[in-house]
Amino acid sequence: MIRSKSATYYLFIPVLFLLVFYIFPMAKIAGYVVEGFLPSTASQPIHWGLIQKATGFTLYQALLSSLITMLIGLPAAFVFGKYQFIGKPILRVLFTLPFILPTVVVVAGFNALLGPNGWVNVALMRIFHSPAPVINSYGSLGVIILAHVFYNISVVIRVVATARERFDPDVINAAALLGAKPHQIFLKIILPILWPHIFSAFLLVFLFDFTSFGVILMLGGASFTTLEVEIYIQTMQLLNLKMAGVLSLIQLAFTVLLTVLSGWMENKKNAPLSPNLQPMLRKPVSNGDKVFVFCINAILIGLLVFPVAALFLRSITAADLGQAGGMGLRFTLRYYASLFTNQHDNIFFVPPLAAVGNSFVFAGTSMLLAVTLGLLVAFSSTTGSKWSKGIQTFAMLPLGTSAVTLGLGFAAAFANNPALQAWSVFLIPIAHTLVALPFVIRIIQPALGSIPSHLHDAAMMLGVRPNAVWKYIDLPIIRKPLSSAAIYAFAISLGEFGATAFLTTPEFPTIPIAIFRSLNLPGSLNYGKALALSVILLLVCAAGFILIDWMQGEDWLPQI
């Protein structure tokens, strides 16, 4: 812990970034809320019952969703972190894809598969000779949780598996040699060492479920409300800023509480993880191993790949006219073909290639910004800067801030300023960076924190300069977590998380914006175009993921 003074300087840029792009917009919004409390506008009521209902349901569904996500995600993470099997890199990319899909498209995928006339239901109705759909779960808590698991399970897999992969097998071998039983090794060695990573994954998943917007709004129906949904309704529809302010404060308070709690838990349990640069993965040998790996992957494919595949199939099929019930499907490429023609000379027509290009530039920029800032914060924490812990908590706040508040804050602070309007295009990647930064920190920090200090000490003793320590020790060790962090930063930006609805610049439409525009009007062609665009979004995203994996040296050939 010798570099502590210089480490504080690393925090300068992230702190400045957060002050300008988070605190300043939030202060603007706080100003509006305070105005809302002035006697002149005091007529707007505060419905405490509604607030209570929203808070309770938000916590309930977030806890349930994230626990179930962990329940399925952890065994999957152990499979990915322990075994080598054919198709693993591809499966990992496929399992991450759901993360970026706009909710409206996920609804379409689930609907094609599980909807009342979806393929699964039609098949089940035939098997059981049932006149009514067998699965019918719209607007239920179950479908909200299913969607949250669908979205976030890859976070658990990526974060925990990456840590498990780098596990030094010598530790386990030594324990086994000393007579430890497999369950003892798991409980006493593997779990404690992986704990910070597991907890990081849980925290991220919980916060995402906690602030979930589209899933609740589109799948939950009108009978459920959460803090995030309520903030949206109160701000954008009812213009009750008092109500929105109270709700935002509650949401923020929970985020702070959770982050502080997690920091405290991490302090207690941060066991050094012996770095292991060449992952010691093994092929599943015993029958038990093979069955385990097979089952986990089968479940994940059913859960994560089937709805996406349904989306793809739906984008190349059309229902034959005159036949009800989704039967009589035939192959068509008209949806894709129609993307390239501007049927009505619409001024907002989005050429698909331009949308792909814009999406890539925005996502790439956000990724670089978030990874750079995240590295600076994580780096300062490993070198013992006393400010680091506080800054880490601080950087988590945007994730717990309503996208509506964030977007409105940006609009108030920057976009509404005529002098800055020409530069408003920069606000999009910056807003995305704010949301992605907590992810990057949460993924990189446990990895950096687990580097045993004796490696640094030895390097110091040998007179290696700090930069070289960073380059030759730290960076190689965190190479893989870094790529996971980059992937999520990229995905968060590509998926257009809420805030940008306020910042869209018509000159630079992205793929999600093109999807929403297609869905604005009725007609099978418009619906089909949205599905086709979603498939394109998935391909772009997969390409981005593969590129990032490749840059950090993922071996794309199966290791036999």
């Binding site: 529809q237 108030a412 306020f502």
Partner: protein
């Protein structure tokens, strides 16, 4: 062990971004909602005639756009705002967002649409929110159409209607207002309770209602009736995957069962381009723009002399007596109605 992420990539990205957004001089900024659409050639005609560039600021749905305009009214970010409808009109007028502009074209507009006597907000177009139904379903089942809102609570229509949440969706709000016009302030909540008992499905947005729940559209959903627009059947024909000779859906246009939405344009106070803004408003009310509206936004032109496309004449039913509510009555009570409705319908 070398890392392949290098500074070069970083620099390329930054340059791409810089090249992509050279600031350019803006001329006339029009704030509008996300559903706005118009032909490029129409706008180009105005731009050439007046040697300006028109920029459209898409700002969410109608409610979000209005609230954003209100929150930035001291430093307006646009010169003209288009797309505030009659359910939000009084909020905009109360906030004193616009300057009055009695355009010379006012006498060409349908007189019934002139809801603001002060001419701060001028009507551009109108459309009806009606229940759409799946023609094939009603034919196959030999089921008669509901003739009134009250009919919808009858057992034969149990679970057959999907509506949108008025707190999150503009057609949902219109439908709520229609029920208030029909049953009055005291009667609408008991009516909704009866609807709830009869299995009405409530979703939060039009996209989900129409594309996932409605059986007459591409999503093959479960409900054969949906709250949508009177023009949706025409859109089904125009945007079909293969040519259709008949619309698969139609609207129920009985007395008081549809709600008429009128969309307005206004010139924002503190604009620095008042003359140009006035010209643009005239342009929007003129025949060229008005005739371009239907097939882009699927609403009817406010200008009585504008021609209506044949597909609208063929496939759109126009309600003879849509539900009506006084704008100031809406303004006073809207938020309360929505909140009461939510408290009734929330679990």
């Amino acid at each position: 062990m070398h890392n392949k992420i290098n500074i070069g990539n970083l620099v390329v990205f930054s340059f791409l971004l810089l090249a992509a957004c050279q600031p350019k001089p803006s001329a006339l900024t029009v704030m509008t909602h996300d559903s706005f659409a118009i032909s490029a050639s129409t706008v180009a005609a105005f731009e050439q005639e007046n040697d300006v560039e028109v920029e459209f600021l898409l700002s969410g749905d109608a409610g979000s756009m209005l609230n954003r305009a209100i929150l930035s009214k001291n430093t307006p970010i646009a010169d003209v705002i288009y797309g505030i409808d009659n359910t939000f009109l009084s909020r905009a007028l109360d906030e004193d967002l616009f300057i009055s502009y009695p355009s010379a074209l006012l006498n060409e507009l349908h007189p019934a649409l002139l809801l603001d006597s002060g001419n701060h907000a001028l009507p551009v177009d109108f459309g009806d929110v009606c229940i759409n139904f799946d023609i094939a379903y009603f034919e196959d089942q030999g089921l008669a159409l509901p003739a009134s809102f009250e009919d919808l609570t009858a057992p034969q229509y149990e679970g057959l209607l999907v509506v949108e949440n008025p707190a999150t969706s503009s057609p949902g709000l219109s439908f709520l207002l229609a029920t208030i016009a029909e049953f009055g302030e005291d009667g609408y909540l008991p009516y909704w309770e009866r609807l709830k008992e009869n299995g009405v499905v409530v979703v939060n947005d039009w996209e989900t209602a129409y594309y996932s729940n409605f059986s007459g559209s591409s999503g093959n959903g479960e409900q054969p009736m949906v709250v949508s627009y009177g023009t949706s059947p025409a859109a089904e024909v125009i945007f079909s995957e293969q040519p259709l000779s008949e619309a698969p859906t139609a609207s129920i246009v009985n007395e008081n069962m549809c709600y008429r939405q009128v969309e307005f344009v206004g010139i924002l106070k503190n604009t620095k381009n008042q003359q140009l803004a006035e010209k643009f408003v005239d342009f929007m009310l003129g025949v060229k723009f008005q005739e371009d509206i239907p097939l882009n936004m699927f609403v009817f032109p406010a200008n009585a002399s504008a021609n209506i496309p044949q597909s609208f004449i063929d496939y759109v039913q126009i309600p003879a007596s849509p539900a009506q509510l006084d704008a100031s009555f809406i303004a006073e009570n809207r938020d309360e109605w929505i909140t009461d409705w939510r408290l009734t319908m929330l679990e």
